[in-house]
């Protein structure tokens, strides 16, 4: 797995680069390869414990649900269905109330006209 990284194929540590400025590039190259191998005895991937993995996942899930962003209503073209139905119902209810009030007021106005007409002074023909 790590062989590809060991000198001279370490990305960034080319044989040519090592050779430049050194009396013997091959010696330097081998030394760096040895250093990398020694480094790998200390630096290496480590797996977290299964308990830690599971507990942290749970905590993140809880925090994620708690901080969940509200449903976004971006534009009128993307309004949720519930909002559209609610708006339609409100409009119909508003129209019905308007019609009812209009009829009531017309009926009231008509009655007063009749009442007033009976009090009109009678003019001689």
């Amino acid at each position: 797995m790590y062989i590809h990284s060991i000198s001279p194929s370490i990305e960034g540590i080319s044989r040519d680069e090592d050779a430049a400025g050194w009396p013997d590039g091959r010696v330097e190259d081998a030394e760096i390869g040895k250093t990398v191998r020694r480094l790998r005895t200390v630096l290496r991937p480590v797996e977290p414990s299964p308990i830690f993995r599971q507990e942290l996942r749970l905590r993140l899930a809880l925090a994620g649900r708690r901080d969940r962003p509200p449903v976004q209503v971006a534009s009128s073209g993307e309004l949720p269905r519930e909002v559209l139905v609610g708006a339609a119902l409100l409009s119909v209810a508003g129209a019905l109330v308007y019609l009812w009030r209009t009829r009531v007021s017309h009926a009231g106005a008509g009655g007063s006209v009749l009442a007033k007409s009976s009090n009109l002074p009678v003019t001689a023909a």
Binding site: Y2, S5, I10, E11, G12, I13, E17, D18, E31, I32, K34, T35, V36, R38, L39, R40, T41, V42, L43, R44, P45, V46, E47, P48, S49, F52, R53, L56, R57, R59, L60, A61, A63, G64, R65, D67, R68, P69
Partner: protein, 180 residues
């Protein structure tokens, strides 16, 4: 077939389940980084937890068209480790507890001494060079990816890596001369 990362990242901005999948994909990488930078299991766990909580909090500000998600996580990790070293005044301390990766035979005395020598030389390197070596040899990132994490050009990373390995080699030679 697993979901492409950029789709998963976009979903994770509103869906905790999707964030959980990202967590599973990147946990070992972040934990390995933290363990190799701090040298202790409790500190690695503590800092790994902080990385993922910060990522969760700032998920909506992350732009998946910029740097890869793994690079973004490692940047958060690097900043947290830098603060941790500063707060604890342990910048040059790499303890690497006597905890060996699972499945490995107990090391013999000679091998333990060899590792102690390498750790000492490693701990004497400046923090950014330790950071570079962990990204290169633990995370196995390319120079280009390391450049994204460290905010340097690929060429600068290549040069720094070369200088760092030479410094380390010299440090190892000094330690061997002091403690032959």
């Amino acid at each position: 077939m697993s979901e492409p990362e950029y789709i998963l990242v976009e979903r994770a901005k509103a869906d905790p389940e999707a964030f959980g999948v990202l967590y599973e994909r990147h946990l070992t990488r972040v934990y390995s980084y933290m363990y190799n930078r701090t040298g202790s299991v409790p500190d690695a766990e503590d800092l790994t937890e902080k990385v993922f909580f910060q990522a969760l909090t700032h998920m909506r500000s992350y732009d998946s068209r910029g740097i890869p998600f793994s690079v973004w996580l490692l940047r958060i990790a690097h900043n947290l480790v830098a603060n941790w070293h500063r707060d604890n005044s342990r910048r040059r301390t790499i303890r690497l507890d006597d905890v060996e990766p699972a499945g490995e035979d107990p090391p013999d005395v000679e091998r333990q001494e060899e590792r102690a020598t390498v750790r000492k030389a490693l701990a004497n390197l400046p923090s950014d060079r330790q950071h570079l070596l962990v990204l290169k040899f633990v995370e196995e990132l390319s120079n280009s990816e390391i450049g994204q994490v460290m905010g340097r050009s690929e060429g600068a990373v290549k040069a720094l890596l070369h200088r760092t390995l030479i410094s380390l080699r010299k440090g190892l030679a000094v330690n061997e001369n002091v403690h032959p």
